[in-house]
Protein backbone atom coordinates (compact mmCIF):
# COMPACT_ATOMS: atom_id res chain seq x y z
CA UNK A 1 0.00 0.00 0.00
CA UNK A 2 1.56 3.29 -0.99
CA UNK A 3 1.11 6.53 0.89
CA UNK A 4 -0.94 8.03 -1.92
CA UNK A 5 -3.54 5.31 -1.56
CA UNK A 6 -3.97 6.47 2.03
CA UNK A 7 -6.81 8.59 0.80
CA UNK A 8 -8.94 6.83 -1.75
CA UNK A 9 -10.49 10.09 -2.77
CA UNK A 10 -10.24 13.43 -1.06
CA UNK A 11 -13.33 14.49 0.81
CA UNK A 12 -15.49 17.56 0.54
CA UNK A 13 -16.46 19.04 3.90
CA UNK A 14 -19.60 21.12 4.36
CA UNK A 15 -20.11 22.75 7.73
CA UNK A 16 -23.39 24.61 8.17
CA UNK A 17 -24.43 26.96 10.95
CA UNK A 18 -22.76 25.15 13.82
CA UNK A 19 -23.72 26.50 17.19
CA UNK A 20 -22.33 25.43 20.56
CA UNK A 21 -22.77 27.14 23.90
CA UNK A 22 -21.28 26.32 27.28
CA UNK A 23 -23.59 27.71 29.96
CA UNK A 24 -23.56 31.43 29.07
CA UNK A 25 -20.48 31.31 26.81
CA UNK A 26 -21.20 31.19 23.07
CA UNK A 27 -18.20 29.20 21.79
CA UNK A 28 -19.57 28.86 18.26
CA UNK A 29 -22.31 31.20 17.10
CA UNK A 30 -23.26 30.26 13.55
CA UNK A 31 -20.21 28.75 11.96
CA UNK A 32 -20.29 27.73 8.29
CA UNK A 33 -17.44 26.57 6.08
CA UNK A 34 -17.12 24.69 2.78
CA UNK A 35 -13.88 22.92 2.00
CA UNK A 36 -12.97 21.59 -1.43
CA UNK A 37 -11.46 18.10 -1.72
CA UNK A 38 -7.72 18.12 -1.03
CA UNK A 39 -7.70 21.69 0.19
CA UNK A 40 -5.79 22.94 3.23
CA UNK A 41 -7.86 25.51 5.10
CA UNK A 42 -6.48 27.40 8.05
CA UNK A 43 -8.75 28.69 10.77
CA UNK A 44 -7.13 31.77 12.21
CA UNK A 45 -8.37 33.74 15.16
CA UNK A 46 -7.65 35.05 18.64
CA UNK A 47 -7.74 32.86 21.73
CA UNK A 48 -11.25 31.82 22.68
CA UNK A 49 -12.87 32.51 19.28
CA UNK A 50 -14.04 28.89 18.96
CA UNK A 51 -11.36 27.26 16.79
CA UNK A 52 -10.88 24.17 18.94
CA UNK A 53 -14.61 23.84 19.46
CA UNK A 54 -15.15 23.86 15.69
CA UNK A 55 -12.54 21.13 15.15
CA UNK A 56 -13.96 18.96 17.92
CA UNK A 57 -17.38 19.14 16.25
CA UNK A 58 -15.92 17.98 12.96
CA UNK A 59 -14.06 15.15 14.73
CA UNK A 60 -17.19 14.11 16.62
CA UNK A 61 -15.60 14.72 20.01
CA UNK A 62 -18.31 17.25 20.81
CA UNK A 63 -21.92 17.63 19.71
CA UNK A 64 -23.33 20.93 18.40
CA UNK A 65 -26.49 22.52 19.80
CA UNK A 66 -27.58 22.97 16.19
CA UNK A 67 -26.14 22.94 12.69
CA UNK A 68 -24.60 20.14 10.67
CA UNK A 69 -21.36 18.64 9.36
CA UNK A 70 -21.37 16.80 6.03
CA UNK A 71 -18.61 14.76 4.46
CA UNK A 72 -19.06 14.23 0.72
CA UNK A 73 -22.71 15.20 1.07
CA UNK A 74 -23.52 12.71 3.83
CA UNK A 75 -24.32 14.08 7.27
CA UNK A 76 -22.03 12.91 10.07
CA UNK A 77 -23.44 15.33 12.64
CA UNK A 78 -24.71 12.60 14.92
CA UNK A 79 -22.06 9.96 14.33
CA UNK A 80 -19.56 9.07 17.08
CA UNK A 81 -15.87 9.66 16.31
CA UNK A 82 -15.34 5.95 15.63
CA UNK A 83 -17.68 6.15 12.62
CA UNK A 84 -16.21 9.34 11.14
CA UNK A 85 -12.61 8.45 10.31
CA UNK A 86 -11.05 11.78 11.17
CA UNK A 87 -7.35 12.15 11.91
CA UNK A 88 -6.64 14.71 14.61
CA UNK A 89 -3.42 16.24 15.93
CA UNK A 90 -3.68 18.18 19.16
CA UNK A 91 -2.13 21.30 20.60
CA UNK A 92 -0.92 19.53 23.73
CA UNK A 93 1.36 16.52 23.44
CA UNK A 94 -1.08 13.69 22.99
CA UNK A 95 0.99 10.57 22.35
CA UNK A 96 0.07 7.66 24.60
CA UNK A 97 2.92 7.63 27.15
CA UNK A 98 2.74 3.86 27.59
CA UNK A 99 3.38 3.09 23.91
CA UNK A 100 6.35 3.47 21.60
CA UNK A 101 6.21 5.74 18.56
CA UNK A 102 5.38 2.77 16.35
CA UNK A 103 2.69 1.47 18.71
CA UNK A 104 1.18 4.94 18.84
CA UNK A 105 0.99 5.11 15.05
CA UNK A 106 -0.46 1.60 14.88
CA UNK A 107 -3.04 2.23 17.61
CA UNK A 108 -5.89 3.35 15.35
CA UNK A 109 -5.38 0.30 13.13
CA UNK A 110 -5.31 -1.97 16.18
CA UNK A 111 -8.65 -0.55 17.30
CA UNK A 112 -9.95 -1.32 13.80
CA UNK A 113 -8.86 -4.94 14.11
CA UNK A 114 -6.05 -4.79 11.54
CA UNK A 115 -3.65 -7.73 12.01
CA UNK A 116 -0.33 -7.17 13.75
CA UNK A 117 1.98 -7.68 10.77
CA UNK A 118 -0.11 -5.42 8.57
CA UNK A 119 -0.44 -2.61 11.09
CA UNK A 120 3.25 -2.59 11.98
CA UNK A 121 4.17 -2.47 8.30
CA UNK A 122 1.80 0.44 7.83
CA UNK A 123 3.12 2.21 10.93
CA UNK A 124 6.65 1.91 9.55
CA UNK A 125 5.56 3.43 6.23
CA UNK A 126 4.03 6.39 8.02
CA UNK A 127 7.04 6.89 10.27
CA UNK A 128 9.08 6.99 7.09
CA UNK A 129 6.73 9.62 5.65
CA UNK A 130 7.45 11.89 8.62
CA UNK A 131 11.15 10.99 8.66
CA UNK A 132 11.20 9.20 11.97
CA UNK A 133 12.16 5.61 11.19
CA UNK A 134 15.01 5.80 13.68
CA UNK A 135 12.68 6.73 16.55
CA UNK A 136 10.18 3.92 16.04
CA UNK A 137 10.97 2.16 19.32
CA UNK A 138 11.22 5.24 21.49
CA UNK A 139 8.68 6.22 24.08
CA UNK A 140 7.19 9.73 23.92
CA UNK A 141 9.24 10.96 26.89
CA UNK A 142 12.39 10.03 24.97
CA UNK A 143 11.50 12.27 22.02
CA UNK A 144 11.64 16.02 21.42
CA UNK A 145 8.45 18.05 21.11
CA UNK A 146 8.82 18.31 17.34
CA UNK A 147 9.36 14.57 16.99
CA UNK A 148 6.32 13.88 19.14
CA UNK A 149 4.13 16.06 16.96
CA UNK A 150 5.43 14.30 13.84
CA UNK A 151 4.53 10.95 15.38
CA UNK A 152 1.11 12.41 16.21
CA UNK A 153 0.75 13.42 12.54
CA UNK A 154 1.71 9.91 11.41
CA UNK A 155 -0.73 8.43 13.92
CA UNK A 156 -3.55 10.61 12.59
CA UNK A 157 -2.79 9.64 8.99
CA UNK A 158 -2.46 5.92 9.72
CA UNK A 159 -6.20 5.33 9.83
CA UNK A 160 -6.60 6.70 6.28
CA UNK A 161 -8.80 9.51 7.54
CA UNK A 162 -11.26 11.39 5.37
CA UNK A 163 -10.15 14.70 6.84
CA UNK A 164 -7.03 15.73 8.73
CA UNK A 165 -7.64 18.07 11.67
CA UNK A 166 -4.70 19.93 13.18
CA UNK A 167 -5.31 21.99 16.32
CA UNK A 168 -2.36 24.35 16.79
CA UNK A 169 0.07 21.45 16.42
CA UNK A 170 3.09 23.77 16.46
CA UNK A 171 2.27 26.15 19.28
CA UNK A 172 4.33 24.33 21.91
CA UNK A 173 7.47 24.26 19.75
CA UNK A 174 10.27 26.78 19.44
CA UNK A 175 10.47 29.09 16.45
CA UNK A 176 12.92 27.17 14.29
CA UNK A 177 11.28 23.77 14.70
CA UNK A 178 7.96 25.49 14.08
CA UNK A 179 8.79 26.68 10.59
CA UNK A 180 10.46 23.38 9.68
CA UNK A 181 7.54 21.34 10.84
CA UNK A 182 4.97 23.62 9.29
CA UNK A 183 6.61 23.17 5.88
CA UNK A 184 6.76 19.44 6.51
CA UNK A 185 3.06 19.33 7.33
CA UNK A 186 2.31 21.10 4.05
CA UNK A 187 4.56 18.68 2.14
CA UNK A 188 2.92 15.62 3.68
CA UNK A 189 -0.54 17.08 3.13
CA UNK A 190 0.18 17.65 -0.56
CA UNK A 191 1.80 14.25 -0.94
CA UNK A 192 -1.19 12.48 0.55
CA UNK A 193 -3.70 14.87 -1.00
CA UNK A 194 -5.86 14.95 2.09
CA UNK A 195 -8.47 17.59 2.91
CA UNK A 196 -7.12 19.42 5.95
CA UNK A 197 -8.26 21.93 8.54
CA UNK A 198 -5.36 23.60 10.32
CA UNK A 199 -6.04 25.75 13.36
CA UNK A 200 -3.64 28.45 14.49
CA UNK A 201 -3.53 31.90 16.00
CA UNK A 202 -0.29 32.70 14.19
CA UNK A 203 -1.08 34.64 11.02
CA UNK A 204 2.33 34.09 9.46
CA UNK A 205 1.89 30.33 9.83
CA UNK A 206 -1.56 30.56 8.29
CA UNK A 207 -0.34 32.60 5.33
CA UNK A 208 2.58 30.28 4.68
CA UNK A 209 0.84 26.94 4.29
CA UNK A 210 -2.81 27.45 3.38
CA UNK A 211 -4.81 27.26 0.20
CA UNK A 212 -7.35 29.46 1.91
CA UNK A 213 -7.41 31.16 5.30
CA UNK A 214 -10.59 31.57 7.36
CA UNK A 215 -10.51 34.29 9.98
CA UNK A 216 -12.72 33.61 12.99
CA UNK A 217 -14.06 36.10 15.47
CA UNK A 218 -16.40 35.42 18.39
CA UNK A 219 -17.64 32.08 17.13
CA UNK A 220 -18.18 33.08 13.51
CA UNK A 221 -16.19 32.91 10.30
CA UNK A 222 -15.60 36.51 9.23
CA UNK A 223 -13.83 35.96 5.92
CA UNK A 224 -12.50 33.02 3.93
CA UNK A 225 -10.02 33.72 1.14
CA UNK A 226 -6.63 32.92 -0.33
CA UNK A 227 -3.80 34.35 1.84
CA UNK A 228 -2.73 37.10 -0.58
CA UNK A 229 -6.30 38.18 -1.27
CA UNK A 230 -7.09 38.26 2.43
CA UNK A 231 -4.04 40.39 3.14
CA UNK A 232 -4.84 42.85 0.37
CA UNK A 233 -8.61 42.93 0.84
CA UNK A 234 -9.56 42.36 4.47
CA UNK A 235 -13.34 42.56 4.77
CA UNK A 236 -13.40 44.09 8.24
CA UNK A 237 -11.16 46.16 10.46
CA UNK A 238 -10.87 43.17 12.81
CA UNK A 239 -9.39 41.06 10.02
CA UNK A 240 -7.20 43.90 8.83
CA UNK A 241 -5.56 44.26 12.21
CA UNK A 242 -5.37 40.52 12.81
CA UNK A 243 -3.75 39.67 9.48
CA UNK A 244 -0.54 41.64 9.12
CA UNK A 245 0.32 44.91 10.85
CA UNK A 246 -2.06 47.85 10.62
CA UNK A 247 -1.95 51.57 11.50
CA UNK A 248 -4.97 53.56 12.59
CA UNK A 249 -4.78 57.12 11.26
CA UNK A 250 -7.23 59.87 12.18
CA UNK A 251 -9.44 60.72 9.20
CA UNK A 252 -12.50 62.72 8.24
CA UNK A 253 -15.38 61.16 6.28
CA UNK A 254 -16.14 63.49 3.33
CA UNK A 255 -19.07 61.51 1.97
CA UNK A 256 -20.10 57.83 2.12
CA UNK A 257 -17.31 56.75 -0.21
CA UNK A 258 -14.41 59.11 0.39
CA UNK A 259 -12.27 59.85 3.36
CA UNK A 260 -9.58 62.43 3.95
CA UNK A 261 -6.47 61.41 5.84
CA UNK A 262 -3.10 63.22 6.05
CA UNK A 263 -4.35 65.65 3.41
CA UNK A 264 -4.91 62.77 0.98
CA UNK A 265 -8.31 61.67 -0.28
CA UNK A 266 -8.94 57.90 -0.35
CA UNK A 267 -11.84 55.68 -1.34
CA UNK A 268 -13.58 53.84 1.52
CA UNK A 269 -13.15 50.06 1.21
CA UNK A 270 -16.04 49.05 3.49
CA UNK A 271 -19.05 50.75 1.92
CA UNK A 272 -21.66 49.67 4.48
CA UNK A 273 -19.94 51.40 7.40
CA UNK A 274 -22.97 53.45 8.47
CA UNK A 275 -21.08 56.62 9.46
CA UNK A 276 -22.50 60.04 8.57
CA UNK A 277 -20.55 62.45 6.36
CA UNK A 278 -18.32 64.66 8.47
CA UNK A 279 -17.68 61.93 11.06
CA UNK A 280 -14.23 61.68 12.56
CA UNK A 281 -13.12 58.08 12.05
CA UNK A 282 -10.00 55.91 11.99
CA UNK A 283 -8.47 54.91 8.65
CA UNK A 284 -6.57 51.62 8.42
CA UNK A 285 -3.24 51.85 6.54
CA UNK A 286 -0.57 49.14 6.43
CA UNK A 287 3.04 50.14 7.30
CA UNK A 288 4.24 49.35 3.78
CA UNK A 289 1.64 51.72 2.31
CA UNK A 290 3.21 54.76 3.94
CA UNK A 291 6.23 56.59 2.56
CA UNK A 292 8.40 59.09 4.34
CA UNK A 293 8.94 62.38 2.53
CA UNK A 294 10.50 65.66 3.41
CA UNK A 295 7.94 67.66 5.30
CA UNK A 296 6.81 68.69 8.74
CA UNK A 297 3.83 66.67 9.97
CA UNK A 298 5.41 63.95 12.13
CA UNK A 299 8.38 63.33 14.42
CA UNK A 300 10.57 60.24 14.29
CA UNK A 301 10.26 58.39 17.58
CA UNK A 302 12.17 55.17 17.14
CA UNK A 303 13.69 52.81 14.59
CA UNK A 304 14.37 49.09 14.75
CA UNK A 305 16.40 47.09 12.28
CA UNK A 306 14.62 44.01 10.86
CA UNK A 307 16.95 42.72 8.16
CA UNK A 308 16.12 44.07 4.71
CA UNK A 309 13.52 46.46 6.13
CA UNK A 310 13.73 48.85 9.05
CA UNK A 311 10.62 49.58 11.12
CA UNK A 312 10.24 53.28 11.85
CA UNK A 313 7.88 54.62 14.50
CA UNK A 314 6.70 58.20 14.00
CA UNK A 315 4.27 60.26 16.03
CA UNK A 316 1.78 62.78 14.60
CA UNK A 317 1.31 66.10 16.35
CA UNK A 318 -1.98 64.84 17.86
CA UNK A 319 -0.08 61.96 19.48
CA UNK A 320 -1.06 59.18 17.02
CA UNK A 321 1.73 56.65 16.66
CA UNK A 322 2.37 55.20 13.21
CA UNK A 323 4.58 52.32 12.10
CA UNK A 324 6.13 52.25 8.67
CA UNK A 325 8.74 50.15 6.93
CA UNK A 326 11.59 51.51 4.82
CA UNK A 327 14.42 49.73 3.04
CA UNK A 328 17.24 49.42 5.56
CA UNK A 329 19.76 50.91 3.11
CA UNK A 330 17.85 54.19 3.05
CA UNK A 331 17.08 54.19 6.78
CA UNK A 332 20.62 55.05 7.88
CA UNK A 333 20.07 58.76 7.72
CA UNK A 334 16.88 58.67 9.76
CA UNK A 335 17.27 59.73 13.38
CA UNK A 336 14.87 60.10 16.29
CA UNK A 337 13.70 63.68 16.62
CA UNK A 338 13.75 64.41 12.86
CA UNK A 339 10.67 66.04 11.40
CA UNK A 340 9.24 64.30 8.32
CA UNK A 341 6.25 64.23 5.97
CA UNK A 342 4.13 61.15 5.13
CA UNK A 343 2.58 60.00 1.86
CA UNK A 344 -0.02 57.28 1.47
CA UNK A 345 0.60 54.96 -1.47
CA UNK A 346 -2.80 53.21 -1.71
CA UNK A 347 -6.04 54.67 -2.99
CA UNK A 348 -8.54 52.91 -0.74
CA UNK A 349 -8.71 51.92 2.93
CA UNK A 350 -11.00 50.46 5.59
CA UNK A 351 -12.51 52.84 8.10
CA UNK A 352 -13.64 52.17 11.64
CA UNK A 353 -15.00 54.07 14.61
CA UNK A 354 -12.41 56.24 16.32
Amino acid sequence: MSIQSTVQRSSRVTISNLRRTFADVVALDSFSLNIEPGELITLLGPSGCGKTTALRMVAGLDVPDSGSVEINGASVTNLPPSKRDMGMVFQAYSLFPNMTARENVAFGLRVRGVGKAERLKRANELLELVDLTTQANRYPHQMSGGQQQRVALARALAIEPKVLLLDEPLSALDAKVRTQLRDEIRRVQQEVGITTIFVTHDQEEAMAISDRVGVMNKGNLEQLAAPDFLYANPATAFIASFVGAMNRLPGLLMDANTVKVLDTTLKVANSSHGFASGSKIDVMIRPEHLMMTSGDIATILDRSFRGPMTRIVVVLDDGTRINLDVASASAISINPGDRVGLTITVDKALIEAR
Binding site: A59, P81, S82, M88, F96, V111, R155, I159
Partner: protein, 254 residues
Protein backbone atom coordinates in the same frame (compact mmCIF):
# COMPACT_ATOMS: atom_id res chain seq x y z
CA UNK B 1 27.21 13.72 47.74
CA UNK B 2 28.32 15.78 50.70
CA UNK B 3 24.82 15.63 52.10
CA UNK B 4 24.76 11.89 52.52
CA UNK B 5 27.49 11.52 55.15
CA UNK B 6 26.14 14.53 57.03
CA UNK B 7 22.63 13.17 57.06
CA UNK B 8 23.85 9.60 57.52
CA UNK B 9 24.10 9.28 61.29
CA UNK B 10 21.00 11.41 61.92
CA UNK B 11 18.95 9.49 59.40
CA UNK B 12 20.25 6.18 60.70
CA UNK B 13 19.31 7.10 64.25
CA UNK B 14 15.85 8.24 63.13
CA UNK B 15 15.24 5.05 61.23
CA UNK B 16 16.45 3.08 64.21
CA UNK B 17 13.97 4.76 66.51
CA UNK B 18 11.13 4.18 64.05
CA UNK B 19 12.12 0.56 63.53
CA UNK B 20 12.27 0.02 67.28
CA UNK B 21 8.88 1.65 67.72
CA UNK B 22 7.28 -0.64 65.15
CA UNK B 23 9.20 -3.82 65.74
CA UNK B 24 9.26 -3.91 69.53
CA UNK B 25 5.55 -4.73 69.97
CA UNK B 26 5.80 -7.32 67.21
CA UNK B 27 8.81 -8.98 68.74
CA UNK B 28 7.23 -8.99 72.21
CA UNK B 29 3.98 -10.32 70.81
CA UNK B 30 5.82 -13.07 69.01
CA UNK B 31 7.80 -13.90 72.12
CA UNK B 32 4.57 -14.16 74.10
CA UNK B 33 2.83 -16.30 71.49
CA UNK B 34 5.76 -18.70 71.43
CA UNK B 35 5.74 -19.35 75.18
CA UNK B 36 4.85 -22.98 75.45
CA UNK B 37 3.97 -25.08 78.43
CA UNK B 38 6.63 -25.29 81.13
CA UNK B 39 8.55 -22.20 80.03
CA UNK B 40 9.80 -23.85 76.83
CA UNK B 41 9.51 -21.87 73.61
CA UNK B 42 7.43 -23.55 70.92
CA UNK B 43 5.39 -22.62 67.86
CA UNK B 44 2.68 -24.94 69.01
CA UNK B 45 0.11 -22.10 69.15
CA UNK B 46 0.62 -21.42 65.43
CA UNK B 47 0.10 -25.07 64.65
CA UNK B 48 -3.33 -24.88 66.26
CA UNK B 49 -4.53 -21.95 64.11
CA UNK B 50 -5.44 -24.01 61.08
CA UNK B 51 -7.36 -26.55 63.14
CA UNK B 52 -9.53 -23.94 64.84
CA UNK B 53 -13.19 -24.22 64.07
CA UNK B 54 -14.17 -22.29 60.90
CA UNK B 55 -10.61 -21.48 59.77
CA UNK B 56 -11.06 -22.62 56.17
CA UNK B 57 -14.41 -20.86 55.69
CA UNK B 58 -13.05 -17.65 57.15
CA UNK B 59 -9.99 -17.60 54.92
CA UNK B 60 -12.17 -18.36 51.91
CA UNK B 61 -14.75 -15.70 52.70
CA UNK B 62 -12.12 -13.07 53.44
CA UNK B 63 -10.20 -13.80 50.25
CA UNK B 64 -13.44 -13.61 48.30
CA UNK B 65 -14.28 -10.30 49.94
CA UNK B 66 -10.84 -8.94 49.09
CA UNK B 67 -11.22 -9.83 45.42
CA UNK B 68 -14.81 -8.64 45.05
CA UNK B 69 -14.09 -5.38 46.87
CA UNK B 70 -11.00 -4.65 44.81
CA UNK B 71 -12.82 -5.54 41.59
CA UNK B 72 -15.83 -3.37 42.38
CA UNK B 73 -13.67 -0.50 43.62
CA UNK B 74 -11.67 -0.37 40.41
CA UNK B 75 -14.75 -0.89 38.24
CA UNK B 76 -16.66 1.91 39.94
CA UNK B 77 -13.96 4.35 40.97
CA UNK B 78 -11.72 4.53 37.88
CA UNK B 79 -14.52 5.57 35.49
CA UNK B 80 -16.05 7.88 38.11
CA UNK B 81 -12.86 9.77 38.88
CA UNK B 82 -12.02 9.89 35.15
CA UNK B 83 -15.45 11.35 34.49
CA UNK B 84 -14.87 13.99 37.16
CA UNK B 85 -11.58 14.92 35.48
CA UNK B 86 -13.13 15.04 32.02
CA UNK B 87 -16.49 16.65 32.56
CA UNK B 88 -16.92 17.95 36.05
CA UNK B 89 -13.69 19.60 37.20
CA UNK B 90 -15.80 22.11 39.09
CA UNK B 91 -17.53 19.34 41.00
CA UNK B 92 -14.23 17.85 42.13
CA UNK B 93 -14.24 19.53 45.54
CA UNK B 94 -17.82 18.43 46.16
CA UNK B 95 -17.13 14.85 45.12
CA UNK B 96 -13.96 14.81 47.20
CA UNK B 97 -16.07 15.91 50.14
CA UNK B 98 -18.65 13.20 49.47
CA UNK B 99 -15.88 10.62 49.30
CA UNK B 100 -14.88 11.64 52.83
CA UNK B 101 -18.31 10.91 54.31
CA UNK B 102 -17.54 7.26 55.17
CA UNK B 103 -14.88 8.57 57.57
CA UNK B 104 -17.31 10.71 59.55
CA UNK B 105 -20.53 8.69 59.41
CA UNK B 106 -20.58 6.04 62.17
CA UNK B 107 -20.49 2.45 60.86
CA UNK B 108 -23.83 1.64 62.52
CA UNK B 109 -25.52 4.33 60.48
CA UNK B 110 -23.86 3.11 57.29
CA UNK B 111 -24.92 -0.46 57.97
CA UNK B 112 -28.51 0.53 58.73
CA UNK B 113 -28.61 2.73 55.64
CA UNK B 114 -27.31 -0.04 53.45
CA UNK B 115 -29.77 -2.56 54.92
CA UNK B 116 -32.64 -0.13 54.38
CA UNK B 117 -31.84 0.66 50.76
CA UNK B 118 -30.29 -2.45 49.24
CA UNK B 119 -32.45 -4.95 47.34
CA UNK B 120 -33.41 -8.12 49.20
CA UNK B 121 -31.49 -10.53 47.00
CA UNK B 122 -28.24 -8.92 48.16
CA UNK B 123 -29.11 -9.14 51.83
CA UNK B 124 -27.74 -12.28 53.39
CA UNK B 125 -24.92 -12.44 50.84
CA UNK B 126 -21.39 -11.29 51.63
CA UNK B 127 -21.60 -9.10 48.50
CA UNK B 128 -23.42 -6.55 50.59
CA UNK B 129 -20.40 -6.38 52.88
CA UNK B 130 -18.14 -5.97 49.84
CA UNK B 131 -20.27 -3.02 48.74
CA UNK B 132 -19.82 -1.43 52.16
CA UNK B 133 -16.09 -1.95 51.90
CA UNK B 134 -16.06 -0.23 48.51
CA UNK B 135 -17.67 2.71 50.25
CA UNK B 136 -15.32 2.60 53.23
CA UNK B 137 -12.31 2.55 50.91
CA UNK B 138 -13.62 5.50 48.91
CA UNK B 139 -11.78 8.27 50.82
CA UNK B 140 -8.47 6.55 50.03
CA UNK B 141 -9.17 5.26 46.53
CA UNK B 142 -10.62 8.58 45.38
CA UNK B 143 -7.49 10.42 46.49
CA UNK B 144 -5.07 7.92 44.99
CA UNK B 145 -6.84 7.85 41.62
CA UNK B 146 -7.41 11.60 41.63
CA UNK B 147 -3.69 12.19 42.05
CA UNK B 148 -2.87 9.65 39.34
CA UNK B 149 -5.23 11.21 36.84
CA UNK B 150 -4.05 14.68 37.80
CA UNK B 151 -0.57 13.72 36.63
CA UNK B 152 -1.61 12.94 33.04
CA UNK B 153 -3.46 15.02 30.43
CA UNK B 154 -6.63 12.94 30.62
CA UNK B 155 -8.65 15.17 28.32
CA UNK B 156 -6.17 15.11 25.45
CA UNK B 157 -5.36 11.40 25.76
CA UNK B 158 -9.03 10.48 25.80
CA UNK B 159 -9.76 12.75 22.84
CA UNK B 160 -6.84 11.28 20.92
CA UNK B 161 -7.94 7.71 21.59
CA UNK B 162 -11.61 8.43 20.86
CA UNK B 163 -10.65 10.32 17.71
CA UNK B 164 -8.76 7.26 16.50
CA UNK B 165 -11.93 5.25 16.93
CA UNK B 166 -11.53 3.58 20.36
CA UNK B 167 -14.68 2.57 22.14
CA UNK B 168 -14.78 3.65 25.79
CA UNK B 169 -13.73 0.29 27.23
CA UNK B 170 -10.59 0.34 25.08
CA UNK B 171 -9.88 3.88 26.24
CA UNK B 172 -9.95 2.63 29.84
CA UNK B 173 -8.08 -0.60 29.33
CA UNK B 174 -5.36 0.53 26.95
CA UNK B 175 -4.92 4.24 27.61
CA UNK B 176 -6.10 5.28 31.06
CA UNK B 177 -5.29 2.20 33.15
CA UNK B 178 -1.70 1.72 31.94
CA UNK B 179 -0.92 5.38 32.52
CA UNK B 180 -2.24 5.53 36.08
CA UNK B 181 -1.01 2.06 37.01
CA UNK B 182 0.72 3.15 40.21
CA UNK B 183 -2.40 4.95 41.38
CA UNK B 184 -4.53 1.89 40.64
CA UNK B 185 -2.16 -0.38 42.52
CA UNK B 186 -2.02 2.15 45.32
CA UNK B 187 -5.78 2.02 45.72
CA UNK B 188 -5.71 -1.77 45.51
CA UNK B 189 -3.18 -1.90 48.37
CA UNK B 190 -5.30 0.37 50.49
CA UNK B 191 -8.44 -1.59 49.76
CA UNK B 192 -6.83 -4.93 50.55
CA UNK B 193 -5.43 -3.61 53.81
CA UNK B 194 -8.82 -2.23 54.73
CA UNK B 195 -10.71 -5.45 54.06
CA UNK B 196 -8.17 -7.51 55.99
CA UNK B 197 -8.43 -5.27 59.02
CA UNK B 198 -12.07 -4.18 59.13
CA UNK B 199 -13.92 -5.40 62.22
CA UNK B 200 -16.88 -3.14 63.00
CA UNK B 201 -18.88 -3.50 59.79
CA UNK B 202 -18.31 -7.22 59.53
CA UNK B 203 -19.46 -7.86 63.08
CA UNK B 204 -22.46 -5.52 62.72
CA UNK B 205 -23.46 -7.37 59.56
CA UNK B 206 -22.92 -10.68 61.39
CA UNK B 207 -20.30 -12.06 59.03
CA UNK B 208 -17.37 -14.06 60.26
CA UNK B 209 -14.44 -12.48 58.42
CA UNK B 210 -10.82 -12.89 59.43
CA UNK B 211 -10.79 -9.99 61.92
CA UNK B 212 -14.06 -10.99 63.65
CA UNK B 213 -13.03 -14.63 63.70
CA UNK B 214 -9.74 -13.75 65.38
CA UNK B 215 -11.62 -11.83 68.03
CA UNK B 216 -13.97 -14.72 68.70
CA UNK B 217 -11.38 -17.48 68.70
CA UNK B 218 -8.86 -15.43 70.61
CA UNK B 219 -11.26 -14.85 73.49
CA UNK B 220 -10.72 -18.35 74.76
CA UNK B 221 -6.96 -18.34 74.95
CA UNK B 222 -4.36 -15.56 75.15
CA UNK B 223 -1.42 -17.24 73.39
CA UNK B 224 -3.62 -18.32 70.52
CA UNK B 225 -5.08 -14.82 70.19
CA UNK B 226 -1.65 -13.25 69.83
CA UNK B 227 -0.48 -15.98 67.46
CA UNK B 228 -3.55 -15.23 65.38
CA UNK B 229 -2.89 -11.53 65.10
CA UNK B 230 0.69 -12.19 64.04
CA UNK B 231 -0.60 -14.71 61.54
CA UNK B 232 -3.08 -12.14 60.15
CA UNK B 233 -0.29 -9.63 59.78
CA UNK B 234 1.77 -12.14 57.85
CA UNK B 235 -1.26 -13.00 55.72
CA UNK B 236 -1.73 -9.33 54.78
CA UNK B 237 1.97 -8.97 54.07
CA UNK B 238 2.06 -11.93 51.75
CA UNK B 239 -0.95 -10.62 49.83
CA UNK B 240 0.51 -7.14 49.48
CA UNK B 241 3.92 -8.48 48.48
CA UNK B 242 2.29 -10.64 45.83
CA UNK B 243 0.45 -7.57 44.55
CA UNK B 244 3.56 -5.45 44.35
CA UNK B 245 5.33 -8.28 42.52
CA UNK B 246 2.52 -8.17 39.97
CA UNK B 247 2.92 -4.42 39.68
CA UNK B 248 6.65 -4.71 39.12
CA UNK B 249 6.11 -7.38 36.46
CA UNK B 250 3.73 -5.01 34.65
CA UNK B 251 6.20 -2.19 34.84
CA UNK B 252 8.89 -4.45 33.43
CA UNK B 253 6.67 -5.41 30.52
CA UNK B 254 6.37 -1.79 29.46
Amino acid sequence: MTLTPKLGPGLGFGLGVVAFYFLMPLVSAFEFSARGAGNVYSLEAYGRIASQYGFKDVILLTTRLVFVTVFLTILIMVPTVTWVHLKAKKLRRLIEFISLLPLVIPPVVLVLGVLATMPNYLKGTPMLLALEYVMLAMPYTFRALDAGLGAIDVRTLVDAARGLGSPWHTVFMRIIAPNIRSAIFGSIFLTVALVLGEYTMASLMLWETFPTWIATVGQSEATLAVALSIFSLAFAWVLLLALSAVERRQKGRK
